[in-house]
């Protein structure tokens, strides 16, 4: 082996090892993020109960804002960290939950409902958000626990199911699921962009019309 070959081998090792370490860390952090999202969403009544006990309006406002910011930033982080489920090469190489991409699409759906609806004040929107979070958690945790974390202990029929639920041992389904998730995300993203363009960034579409009418009136 020449020094150049050794250099090249170490460089490749650093590159491949680093990439796998990054993806591994993301995969290991995602269950924690999912649990925190569920905990914060389901803990809403507890927070509201605490807010009622505040004697100062400022404390109540700050608690609510911190809660909302934490909860929603975690959902955004969940979507962002789930991006590896949309990359065919990563899905084929790493052992990931088979339906992780669909879980990410559910999380994005939650964000869309928060954008267009008002889950903190509209019961139907809240129910829909909770339903999507539950569905997403199922999509993530079932293949994660039964597949990714049980493939060495599962035997027989459970072993077959376990192999099926992991992306790198079921590559055809994994890539297919990836494409379905990408399509779902693209559709939801287009709806979000369309909504924001229609409202012009205002809280409601009606406000945009009001401001446009005011502008017209002023120009006349």
């Amino acid at each position: 082996m020449t020094p150049d070959q050794l250099t090249q081998a170490i460089v490749s090792g650093i590159g491949a090892g680093g990439e796998q370490f990054l993806e591994g860390t993301l995969a290991a952090t995602l269950p924690i993020i999912w649990l925190a999202i569920l905990g914060l969403h389901l803990g809403r009544p507890y927070i509201l109960d605490m807010i009622d006990r505040f004697t100062l309006r400022l404390g109540a406002d700050l608690l609510w804002l911190i809660y909302v910011a934490l909860r929603d930033l975690l959902i955004i982080s969940g979507v962002i960290m789930s991006f590896m489920f949309f990359f065919p090469d990563v899905v084929v190489t790493d052992p990931l939950p088979l339906t992780g991409g669909l879980a990410a699409a559910c999380l994005f759906g939650v964000l869309l409902i928060k954008l267009a609806g008002d889950p903190d004040h509209n019961l139907r929107a809240f129910q829909l958000t909770t339903l999507l979070l539950g569905l997403g958690a199922l999509f993530y945790f079932v293949p994660y626990v039964l597949g990714v974390q049980a493939n060495t202990v599962a035997a027989g029929a459970l072993g077959t199911v376990s192999t099926f639920l992991v992306t790198n041992t079921n590559q055809t389904w994994a890539v297919g699921m990836g494409y379905v998730s990408i399509a779902l995300l693209a559709i939801l993203g287009a709806i979000a962009a369309g909504y924001t363009l229609r409202t012009g960034g205002r809280a409601d579409a009606s406000e945009t019309q009001v401001s446009a009418t005011k502008k017209e009136g002023a120009s006349r």
Binding site: W64, A69, D89
Partner: protein, 225 residues
């Protein structure tokens, strides 16, 4: 291979590997930043709705200020880190989305709209910024997901070859130069605009101060007093 050769090989590997690792980390982190940029920009109606429910002005101000700071800082950081798309050596040697430089140009155009018009008050300006961001993200994600990150897919081989920078270097470099010229033009316009604006506001302030000085310097006549 003696001890010195091995030491030299490890040193070279650490330097080259470290540099490639840094670039790879930026490349891996860019989709995160792009998504964050888009979500924070598109999430404005939701942030406004939450803001309205604040009972106190202080809470609302803190909320809005944090949102603005994070949103615009993420946009700026995404643009700054995307600079790797304008380094010809990296474009030719590394697997990057071929449309990356055009995506960066769209990002800068969105920034330019924000800098030149009041995006948070002007609906049309907001729509322009949204359009540029969505276009940039589409250019970035399309090539990233279906070309750079899909080398294992036989069905996407042609697309992958055409849209990855190190496998289609001619087009990649051409797009890079087009993007760079666009970035220089937009940045130049922003530079001139900032100078003009500073001249205008400072000249107004200076002339106001000068006239004030003249008034204090002129003695008041006895008849007037």
């Amino acid at each position: 291979m003696n001890e010195q050769n091995v030491a030299q090989a490890i040193t070279n590997a650490l330097i080259q590997g470290g540099s490639q690792w840094l670039i790879a980390t930026i490349v891996a982190f860019l989709p995160v930043l792009w998504t964050m940029t888009l979500m924070l920009h598109l999430g404005r109606p939701y942030v406004l709705r939450t803001l309205r429910r604040c009972g106190l002005r202080l809470g609302a101000d803190i909320w809005w200020m944090s949102y603005l700071l994070i949103r615009d800082a993420v946009l700026l950081i995404t643009f700054a880190l995307s600079w790797i798309f304008f380094a010809p050596n990296i474009v030719v040697n590394d697997a990057l989305p071929i449309t990356g430089p055009l995506a960066v140009l769209c990002l800068l155009l969105a920034l330019a709209v924000k800098l030149s018009r009041r995006v948070d008050d002007d609906v049309t300006a907001y729509r322009f910024a949204t359009g540029f961001l969505v276009l940039g993200a589409t250019l970035y994600y399309g090539a990233l997901v279906f070309a750079v990150e899909a080398t294992s897919q036989d069905a996407l081989t042609g697309f992958g070859h055409a849209f990855t920078s190190n496998s289609n270097t001619g087009v990649a470099l051409a797009l890079m130069w087009i993007g760079l010229v666009g970035v220089v033009l937009v940045a130049g316009w922003l530079f001139v605009r900032a100078l003009q604006s500073a001249n205008r506001t400072m000249a107004r302030r200076l002339s106001a101060t000068r006239s004030q000085d003249q008034q204090t310097a002129e003695p008041t006549s006895v008849a007037q007093s």
